[in-house]
Amino acid sequence: MDSFFIITSLLKIIGILFVVILPMVSYAVYAERRVSAFIQDRLGPNRVGPAGLFQPIADMFKLLLKEDFTPRAANTFYYWLAPCLAVMPAIITIAVVPFGSTLFGVPMVIADVNVGILFVFAIASLGVYGIVIGGWASNSKYPFLGGIRSSAQMLSYELSLGLAVVPVFMVVGNLQLTSVVRYQIAHGWFIAAFVGDWINPWKWLLAVPMIISFFVFMIAIFAETNRLPFDLPEAEQELAGGYNTEFSSMKFALYFLGEYAAMITGSAVVVTLFFGGWHFPGIPDGSHGWIFGLINIAVFFTKVTVVIFFFMWIRWTLPRFRYDQLMRLGWLFFFEIALVNIFLVAAILPFIRP
């Protein structure tokens, strides 16, 4: 383990966290308000700075300067711990996602482990503790109900989440996320598996289970990140805000940060698995010059932004499910669809591999 590796890794971590993820989170909140306003035919925040672009900074000061109130009945240690637990997993998962090709010969992924996607699922599944502990430590009815709902929901949808990506890895033959991207560059993106191989009927057939897999994965990601139509843990009309009701000031901001960071990492995983990662047809990788390396990174985050916009679009279009509907959907439909999908891919696979 030489010092060059340590320095480049530190630079990558600091760069991705402070230059990309955290600004992206604050502007995702701003974008969410503008997009919702656009969809509902309103204006949204447009007062602070040009077109309201400085709104996140004003929001941050407001949240920092608010009174940090701890309810008397709360369990203080866990009350402080919970918001941190909500943020950390969402940020850690970005470590294994390849966000670019290479820059000056350094691969643009923080940790290229050979169990890539399992790492994402394992760390993402720890995210539920922040919500459950937050709801329990507040020692109040509605946050508690939110925490209970959250744990049941996450357990149910983790199954379909895991099963939905199995077809992708059956085709690639490897769990490493960089090799998923490499496969897609050579054989076409998984969302449209037939691109580049138009006359092969088996590739057209493969596109069917891949698109099913994409939809199941996308819906499960919505449930995992507690986004509408699956935001039952914080359903405002029933639970007065759910697990974060008793939190104020910076602790509330941390919950917000965690939710949006989870959304960004979820989008990054979707882009990596189904939309070819940092690849765009016609643009070479970073070995042809550092300018292409930068373009690859820009392409990746542009795709992530598009997926985030899709998240917001859904949120302001669809109404929320009822809790029993959510459980029925997870256990009776998505789980079975994902399972059958695996057999479908297994049947097609022998005709694709030469």
């Binding site: 169990v115 399992l118 599944s125 502990i133």
Partner: protein, 167 residues
């Protein structure tokens, strides 16, 4: 992996394992067990067993313990925190733990394989997911299938037991 990191994670695993037993609050005990599992996963990864380490986090810390917490919170076990300590049971438990520790030390001292350090892996980037899969579905296929049937029987049993009797 440096010895320093080994000691950090080994101590983490042991200390939080002890707090699982010592803590009077069931939720605190469950959370200590989660941290202990994370330390154990880190130890697996230090042996280049990434797959086993990650599965440890995914299955135990991510799913089993969430279910534990779910049940503890739903039952709201307040009585446990107020109960008197049964000193006889505590002494018995400590005794069993000490006997186990002595046994382990004895075995390690008398088996030659336990005393040598393992040579480093020939290829540090081995695909352990592929290796485990190949081993499970070739050499150990029959035991694997039997375990599968066993789990299926348990699942069906749970469904049968939790079914409401039609009135």
């Amino acid at each position: 992996m440096s010895p320093f990191l080994f000691w950090v994670f080994a101590l983490l695993t042991l200390i939080f394992g002890a707090t699982v037993v010592v803590n009077r609050n069931p939720v605190a005990s469950a959370l200590s067990l989660v941290v202990s599992f994370l330390g154990l996963a880190a130890l697996f990864m230090s042996l280049d067993a990434f797959f086993v380490g990650i599965i440890q986090v995914l299955v135990y810390a991510g799913a089993v313990m969430v279910l534990f917490l779910f049940i503890i919170m739903l039952l709201n076990l307040q009585a446990e925190a107020r109960r008197q300590i049964n000193w006889l049971a505590a002494a018995g438990g400590t005794g069993v733990a000490v006997v186990l520790l002595v046994q382990i030390c004895f075995v390690i001292r008398h088996i030659r394989a336990a005393q040598q350090t393992f040579p480093p892996l020939a290829n540090p980037t081995t695909d352990d997911v592929r290796n485990i899969g190949a081993a499970l579905f070739s050499n150990y296929n029959l035991p694997f299938q039997i375990v599968g049937v066993l789990v299926l029987v348990a699942t069906i049993g749970v469904v049968l037991l939790s079914r409401r009797e039609p009135r």
